[in-house]
Amino acid sequence: MNTAVVQAVLGGAFTHQRGRLALSVLAIALGVALGYAVALINAAAVGEFAGGMRTLSGVADLEVRGPRGGFDEALYATLARDPDVAVASPVVEVDARIAGRDDALVVYGVDAFRAAAVTPALVGAADTALDLLRPGAVFLSPAAAAWLGAGPGGTLTVQSGVRDVVLAIAGYAGGDAGRRFAVMDIAAAQDAFARGGSLSRVDLRLRPGSDAALARERIARTLPPGVVVAAPRDNAATTERMSRAYRVNLNVLALVALFTGGLLVFSTQALSVVRRRAQFALLRTLGLARRRLVALLVAEGALVGAAGSVVGLAAGYGLAYAVLRVFGADLGAGFFRGAAPQIAFDAWSALVFAALGVAVAMTGSFAPAREAARAAPAAALKAGDEQQAFARLRSPLPGLVLLAAGAAATRLPPVGGLPLAGYGAIALMLIGTLLLLPRIAALVLARVPAPRAFAPALALDQLRGAPGQASVSLATIVASVSLMVSMAIMVASFRQSLDDWLAALLPADVYVRAGPAGDSAYFDQRDQQALAAVPGVARVAFLRAQALVLDPALPRVTLLARDLPGDDPEQRLPLVGETLPRRAGDPPPVWVSEAMVDLHGMHPGARIELPLAGRTWPFVVAGIWRDYARQQGALVVERATYVALTGDRSATDAAVWLAPGVTPAAFRAALDARFPEAARAALSTPGEIRALSLAVFDRTFAVTYGLLAAAIVIGLVGLSSSFGALVLARRREFGVLRHLGMTRRQVGAMLATEGAAISAIGLATGLTLGFVMSLVLIHVVNRQSFHWSMALSVPWGSLAALAAALLVLAMATTVASARQAMGGGVIRAVRDDW
């Protein structure tokens, strides 16, 4: 048949609904853009990080590493003499705070003689090799030089303790590793950063013919507690895994955006199909095969999807570029510090997300297309057939099965560290509820008492008579409202929990960090005394942060040695659940964060061993605390215990209680006067820390807020489309009503009632479903992704306001779309049949 005719008929759809089509395209574009941007940023960051790691680990077959503070350097001699080891290269790694900046640079102290054979990227490029050994000389990677805005001939000032160390930039190192770091002689690094006697790492190159796995196993058995041996690529994998949950969550947001986009396509197409019902029937009678019609309509959806994908890919690329420029490689989450990635067009993921966008749009248009093709052409050519499109009321069984499956899925453990079952549960619940919508509508409407006014009563009767009709309108609003509500409750709970946590964690008046970044800053014992002696200080509690390797396959966990009040050490910890009473004869207590429970299987009462200062010491897990700061897990021990076991008396942080009447500003002035070195330390009040933390939180969730707004708009547009479709389908009904004597106003009132009823049912269902989904987000998805719990905190007020606003908006939308759909020809529409 004539393609021109087909094109004319189908093309009409596009000209008629430009606004809705544009929105559909934008919704698809939003999902594609978000997904593609996440993929690009991640590819850039992970790729660069892994590449940099490869460059930096050179030809090392194995890597021996221990706590952040290092292990006894005597181990180097043992490893170097190992029969399987060809070259052992000792490394001191310091995250050095850059003086005057709230930033740190990784400084590797290496023995150039050894590193040259194992990790050549860690050897500076010097005219004379002796320059590499000079105590004050440092070599910067090109990325670090660019970042610092300094180069050979200049100086680099870093903080060690609370004092400055000035290093002369002697040249470059690292080739094209693309990462920010500096290299200096190992002895100089030990001296400059008070790391005498300890190493952070020993890189091993094995003899040709040595079996790496056997050597690794054998070496592992000889290592002191807290020191592990692993292949460098395992460490890269560990780092990659750290950021995975974060990335997956962003990708799920992208999928949610795509899903809502699909819903929008669905409702838009549903409306457009109803509008063109007679045209399709005409085409069918002219010989267009049913399958061909479906294909044509699905192709329409594909076109929308393709347009959305193209816009989305471009926007995603721009978004990724902007994010990398603004936040750097680490997505603002601190996973990839030191990496300086370049964004590169990734054809493969572009293809995947474009295909997803098209597929979603095609799926969205498939159901309306089938409905259109299903109609018998002869009947459809006649008016009054449209209601069939929405007439069928399906069995509730599939919906109920899906809901049950969703509930069951919340019980499943994470898959590969990812909360896939949790996301699955949410999807199942959503789809299950959508399938049940006609039933729900029928159930609710059956219980609504008949209103006395004529128009509303008629509206109710209409809805009761054909609950299936409402389900299309309901679907979009339920989906968007439930997604929005679940995220709103989750974010609100998280924010509230974070706020409470900060309040519990920050009881003092002022907090002093030796350095705001890196691990090179600390207070030695003299500094601590000086700090405590500053006038106006009532009491000081110190904290020593350390990082331990408990499991070679997992990232280091943080050990916090804190001065805790002797009588009740636990009052200063944001504990969750029961704590263990202290019993005589027990080893010293350790309080573990929730991540330690999830990742390391610790539980209250468990006897554990911690590697400190090259030995293992028994501890008993006394309680679990909530930690939003360290995803990989953290342990708290009393500082007195830590000092007794390790002899390490230095501190990284101090909590200061001021005497009555002393302000933080007065304290700062007194501190500067009495302890000038502390000028390098960062001083903050709990209020500042809280404001900063919440600001960071809000920034992190800004994308979520944006999506919430988008979900609302999409939901309303969807509602408008589908309601418009409904009204259009019933034009003859209205015409009859008008002929029977109902006024325009009365028909309007009837439609407004229907709109209000549908909106109210949709909102109520969406709110309920959203609440349930928020529980899944909070207790399953978040816990499994980030290993922290949060208390449910429902923002009733804002939810109520939002619901009311939505109800009004939904009613207004339905009335407006009803008006538009009725147009002027309602009365004439009746005549179409005659």
Binding site: A80, F113, R114, L130, D131
Partner: protein, 355 residues
Amino acid sequence: MDRRIFLTMPWLLAAGRVRADAAYARVERGAALVFPRDHGSHPDFRTEWWYVTGWARDADGADFGVQVTFFRNRPGIAEASASRFAPKTLLFAHAAVADPRAGRLRHDQRAARAGFGIAEAAEATTDVRVDDWSLRLAGDTYVARLAARDFAFDLAFGAREPPLLQGEGGVSRKGPREAEASYYYSRPQLALSGTVTLDGRARRVTGVAWLDHEWSSEYVPPEAQGWDWTGLNFDDGSALMAFRMRARDGGDLWAGGALRDAAGNVRALGRNDVRFAPLRQWRSPRTGFVYPVAFRVDAGPVSVELTPLMDDQELDARGSVGIVYWEGAVRALAAGRPVGRGYLELTGYGGPIRL
């Protein structure tokens, strides 16, 4: 003498420029060397080396040149460091084997800062090691063990005579200024025996070798372009060391040597007693540098012609220690008749040795 090759290493070039925070010990005329103490290392001095070169013959009658060197350097930086990694003492080792059938040198090296038992140079007697490369003196026998990239040595060098003190009682002048001197003694006519592993095949070898032990804090004259050196073990049991320092203007800047006869009588040779006359040039196909690989050497009463075991004994160490030189096994001929075997060292032919 003048195994000054290591002096030209970038390490030392730099050390010359640096105002070292170390107070180096000075070479004093008249100070007597005491053994076995002076077989050991002298960490107060800036540089020191133990340099073994020898001719080895396997069961098939094939000749090889073998060379093992351990070098100690005190760069004078990080003297105040409290770290056990402080680079107060650096140790290098270098080994080469000249196999005429291969036609070129195989060589390898090791470098490390002293410490942790990984690299050490004992003071009591010769006992120096870098990783699994070592040279030790036990009784009158030196033992060198090392496994290089494509060869390995397990060699003993038996001394039959007391050390040959160079210069004035072991103080050897290197240039026109008095400070340009070193403590220097040689062990000629060492009986070489042991195993050389080449291409995975261990060969029992015997032969004759030469050891130099030299330490100092200052020496190479700034005007030097390079030097020629030879140490020869004559078949009659006598031995000759001769060197000349070449000036940049082409003339001889300094020269010297020592001759010991079979009976053990030593004659010191002054700067006018030693002459090197090139006989034949060889151009390196790799670097394009031209070396006089054959010489007529006149040293006191001795006049010999030196011809190389093979022409290509060039050591291109630019990738590691930064210089290219020629260090090779040579035969000594008198009136066309072989009279001895030894080593010849030629430096400064790829451009002046810069200081």
